[in-house]
Symmetry: C2
Subunit: 740 residues, 2 copies
């Protein structure tokens, strides 16, 4: 009993110390405002800790490096914005209205306060595909509905709210094992919750860390069995901010706090790394204002993509992008990030817009780390379904994230209480000229003809950059005038590193037990994979399409047939059912993968189509029965094709958080439904193995990979035969900037 009293005393003293430190230390970087006394409970609407900091603000923030940003999105007044297209995202007013209907609807109306339930999603419930396809500009707008996911007493409620009638028209309580995408409030409050635990505070202090220097991250627990069932859990790991903004390089290794995410109560603490020093702060800061190590002499003269007459695209009504021969609908989404809809390309022969893709988006990510030890095994992120890929997409930095003349589009999302906020400059759209060649031909000395015809390549890029804590994912949708769509993922940002006692490789007895690379003294970059799975609802000249595997196989000639012994022939296999379309790439068993419209032939009789063209990628080779791989089973193949089903858009399932892998693309595909001459969806997974290297410290140069959707007998002939070359007389006349 004496001992319990001592503990209580110690606890009280510690809490006091914590509170004093927190109130009187001025954190230079993320110190909550002093007047906001209740920053720990996260109930204040405008607390910067509990909601997105840029809760509805009509003006974007001041940019660090651009004294006069004038993004075009400034011209949109979110207060008065109304929808113009059936796929336009919910407006500020529509989100307010949704919240208002919801809070008059039991069981949400009966709740005593808004904090007893949390709104995890309010997005447009897209109208039926058929209706959207038939809708034309000038038609009355289709009925506006909101898809809402609310978490109440541990249960996920999925509602459809009709905004015109003000009615809840559908309400289902999920029986799924998983939970919805975390709210920003879930994540933020989780990072502070451990401070209410004495044991946690004690171990921090025992390790010599000032509580004011603490930065913590909320890490999804995944699911590994009974322990991760029947309640929402999250793990928190912490870092020292002392001496650097790049706290990620200063892990408090081995300390993991398990929280109940709903009660914010500490469920358990694992504290196994007390002997591991915290890596030093030197040379970890990457901010321009703090990099002192090197001279900041500008080694390069200014270089810029310039368009003195302005860009060649226009964005109608805020979301409909029109550029040269392309037209598509573009919107931000809290889960997917960017959604491209109704992508159509103009046929140069007929002048008509032809359907290519009904909807394309990042469906899910899977990022397993390769360290089975206590503080690391659970790091198997699914960034879209757990964290919200769009929620993490921060405002882009004009001139650096996107070139001059970019158009910036804002996102409008709800916080957990249903109040909308604006994520400014979340997506940019720009034209890109990289010095590349669209097509060329010169006659050689062989024929002696005097011909040299070259056409420059200009493309349109849609970009967002999601910062899922340490990592930054840059997602580009690049449209080419020749009909090709390139989908590119760039990885930058900061590694998730592991503390270690080692300062040199000569101290390491078993290299493989590092589970990665020694990057700096006491810092290991742990090996990990990244998989990004795209949902591509292809509608090639109409919804009914087939998937064709064009297999290149070696054919041996018969004796005497030819001086050649072998050649390659192309065998076409039309996939009948889903299992025919589960594709693993094989370099020595090559295939082209076509989505064709079997009912539409070119003039000379080829079915019109698009093919998916992989570039560099990686495949998951984890044990298929490993729980993370079961949840991430959508990465078991590089390509899948499923029949269109509006309930199958999220490859890891609608409720991914702590899911058991019972509702993934892999499960759906096993139904083996017919896919020939049907409305089909193509799924593509882009993969990266990342064995870190010292160049990744303290921040990673961007690594990119991509894949293409490319017309194949879609056009009668080269659709860019008519584009003109560049002429000197048309190009801009530039002078160095005034400041020069």
């Amino acid at each position: 009993m004496e001992s319990a009293r001592v503990t209580l005393l110690k606890f009280s003293v510690l809490v006091l110390v914590v509170l004093l430190v927190l109130f009187f230390t001025r954190l230079p970087i993320y110190h909550p405002s002093d007047k906001d006394a209740n920053f720990l409970d996260c109930t204040t609407y405008y607390s910067p800790w509990c909601t997105s900091k840029n809760r509805f603000q009509p003006k974007p923030k001041l940019y660090l490096h651009t004294p006069k940003p004038k993004p075009s999105s400034m011209t949109i007044n979110h207060d008065t914005q109304v929808p113009n297209h059936p796929l336009d995202p919910l407006t500020i007013q529509e989100i307010h209205k949704t919240r208002s209907i919801l809070t008059s609807y039991p069981p949400f109306s009966s709740s005593s306060s808004s904090s007893s339930f949390a709104i995890h999603t309010i997005v447009l419930e897209e109208p039926d595909k058929e209706l959207v396809l038939n809708w034309k500009k000038g038609d009355p707008l289709l009925p506006r509905q909101a898809s809402v996911i609310v978490l109440l007493k541990g249960k996920s409620h999925v509602l459809i709210i009709d905004l015109d009638s003000g009615q809840v028209i559908n309400h289902v309580t999920s029986s799924s094992n998983g939970y919805p995408v975390m709210t920003i409030e879930d994540m933020s409050s989780s990072t502070w919750a451990p401070l209410s635990d004495a044991t946690f505070n004690r171990t921090i202090v025992d390790r010599g860390i000032n509580l004011a220097d603490l930065a913590c991250l909320p890490i999804s627990t995944g699911w590994f069995g009974k322990k991760e069932e029947n309640r929402r859990l999250i793990k928190v790991q912490c870092y020292s901010l002392q001496g650097t903004a790049n706290f990620y390089m200063r892990p408090i290794e081995g300390l993991t706090v398990l929280l109940d995410m709903d009660t914010k109560k500490v469920v358990g603490i694992s504290d196994m790394g007390r002997d591991i020093p915290i890596p030093k702060a030197e040379n970890t800061d990457y901010r321009y204002s703090k990099v002192n190590k090197y001279s900041k002499v500008r080694l390069m003269k200014p270089i810029s993509i310039e368009q003195p007459k302005g860009p060649s695209f226009e964005i109608e009504d805020g979301h409909l992008v029109k550029w040269v021969n392309w037209e598509f609908h573009l919107k931000p989404d809290p889960r997917a990030g960017v959604i491209i809809s109704r992508a159509m390309v103009r046929d140069p022969d007929t002048g008509e817009l032809r359907n290519v893709m009904y909807k394309g988006m990042t469906s899910e990510l899977f990022v397993p780390y390769m360290d089975p030890t206590d503080a690391w095994y659970f790091k198997t992120y699914m960034d879209a379904g757990e964290y919200g890929f769009g929620l993490q997409a921060m405002p882009l930095d004009p001139l650096n994230d996107c070139p001059r003349n970019a158009y910036y589009m804002d996102g409008v999302f709800p916080t957990a209480d249903g109040i909308p906020y604006v994520r400014s400059n979340m997506i940019c759209v720009f034209e890109r000229y990289a010095g590349d060649i669209g097509w060329r031909h010169a006659e050689s000395p062989i024929t002696g003809m005097e011909i040299r015809e070259v056409r420059p390549k200009v493309t349109l890029v849609v970009r967002m950059a999601a910062s899922v804590a340490n990592y930054d994912y840059i997602v580009d949708w690049e449209f080419q005038t020749d009909g090709l769509i390139r989908i590119k993922v760039g990885l930058s940002g900061i590694l998730m590193v592991k503390g270690t006692p080692y300062v040199n490789m000569n101290q390491v007895p078993e290299e493989e037990k590092l589970y990665g690379t020694l990057l700096s003294e006491n810092v290991i970059g742990v090996i990990h994979d990244h998989y990004v799975t795209f949902y591509l609802d292809m509608d090639v000249d109409g919804s009914n399409n087939s998937f064709v595997k064009v297999n290149l196989v070696r054919e041996e000639t018969s004796p005497g047939e030819s001086p050649r012994r072998s050649y390659l022939k192309a065998n076409r296999h039309v996939a009948k059912t889903e299992k025919d379309a589960q594709i693993k790439f094989k370099l020595y068993d090559p295939s082209e993968l076509h989505v064709i419209n079997p009912s539409k032939l070119t003039r000379i009789g080829n079915p019109v189509g698009y093919k998916v063209v992989p570039a560099g990628t990686a495949a998951s080779i984890l044990d298929p029965k490993d729980p993370p791989q079961m949840r991430g089973a959508f990465t078991n193949n590089q390509v899948w094709v499923t029949p269109y089903n509006r309930n199958e858009q999220w490859a890891g399932g609608l409720f991914v958080y702590q899911s058991h892998g019972e509702d993934t693309l892999a499960v759906w595909s096993e139904k083996n439904r017919p896919i020939e001459n049907k409305d089909i969806v193509l799924w593509y997974t882009l993969g990266f193995h990342h064995v870190p290297c010292q160049e990744d410290f303290p921040i990673m140069p961007t690594v990119s990979s991509s894949f293409d959707l490319k017309p194949v007998n879609f056009f009668e002939s080269n659709p860019i035969l008519n584009i003109p070359p560049n002429f000197e007389k048309d190009l801009p006349v530039c002078r160095a900037a005034a400041s020069a």
Copy 2:
């Protein structure tokens, strides 16, 4: 005898007809000048048909689309140019001197006229690597020597001529089965030689083709057995120019003339396609002046990469490129195209230039077509060793092939008679800003920190474009400030197509007997592969390097060890001998491939290295015993490593033309020599399978693929931490052009 006299008469009439037609028809495109009466015998030095048309001309030609080209190479006076660096290519004067020494040296002095031997190569004999590595600017230039290959009476003579002493210091007569790279004169004269054959002329006339409309191509025969041995052979296939400059789309199908390349005598004619119509000319021309089908309305406003203060690179003494943290020697080569030498990158910590690559170049290409029939089986091009990849690199088109501010470098090559000529604007060097991101990080709402740091990516590109008859290969060497080198190959130009009676797929009984895709009425695009093999003499911080395969393998955990069942670990295997380094890529058995310096460790003990990072590629799956694949056996693996040997630079062998595959990289590698901690050469093959589609008609939108050489623990940390972001105040101020 009567019949012989009739034949003789017919032949005389035909020859007369041919000559009349040729003299009195004004060919709009490639008509030889009327005063040049002896254009068929190719002995006139300045005949445009027999030598490169831009034989030494100090001024580049007028460009079609650029009224005032001012390439920087204009500042180089080739007449007075002297070498400054041990690796500088031979100058005009040095080539003249080489020719002069050669023609005073038996057996070449005894020849009655210069036409009895042909000079196939005069290039710099590079000094020993050791000497070059020790040479410093300011040292006396190393002795200048020329490597010369001369063909005399069917034998290849390989000579080294010392230019200082004026002596032939080495002279070997090759016993190889192959022949040297064809001269431009070989190719040009072969295209005209069939006209001296009556049977050929008769079948052309019989097919209803005006002889004036004939365009013919010289096609390497390859080697398939006895028939292709002991004499230099070439096959000629012809096309109709009537109505289009794009004669490639109008094949005279099935007609193949076999020529003796030395005597220019017709050895045989295969005439099997008389019933196949010549495809129509409509819609095949691609020239801007001829494209009438579509309006030429400019859909895009001007867009340009602008650098009002000029580029940030300099090119010292014509060949030494210095840009930000890179320095390398750059030269044109008649066989390889572009040679990059002594590539070094500056260490941001020490400020010193560090060696990365001693020499990098395109070593060989292999382009097998997949049609075993008579007129197609032999099409298995090896474009560097047969045609000269550099010889086919045409002048680049400023503003279209390369952006504004590009620097253009000329090639200086000898014709078959040893007289030098200038290939103007053969290589361009430019800085590229494509709107990409070098690195970035934003803090997310999770931590709430106010950080957004983004750095734009600017790179330096070295480009050439080789037009090997129909195809155009764009080769880029792209240098990044983070130490990465990207080697990219773009394919554009025109397909080699096959005539067919079919005008619609509904007429085709057996699709696979097309050996390709019906592209237009009577036109088949035949399936083919492209392989481009690069020679990369890596010298990572010195010449002695090792090749390490870092294999990622699944490790299963022991029961109870972890909630995880599996993770990936990295196993390092240092290759001891060449066979350990014959690498076939496997998606499900992934590896990183490092070239390390085992004697140089980073501060924390990792060996410094570079890794080769593949992107999309293709592997040859032809029968390894098929004669073309034996000759192209260097494509049997994607990666090889050999010990440095100055005689092993051309992956298909020094004498590729009609070679039997006895002197390829695959043969050398089988010696299985030690490669650990040695001066080693990395070989990388980039592959493409090309199943043509209608979009490739009549000219192909560019398709690209690339691979990277990327620092891996080469730098102590991210080497571009110190680069500044873009600031609005530094960027150019542009206005629309005066003509606007």
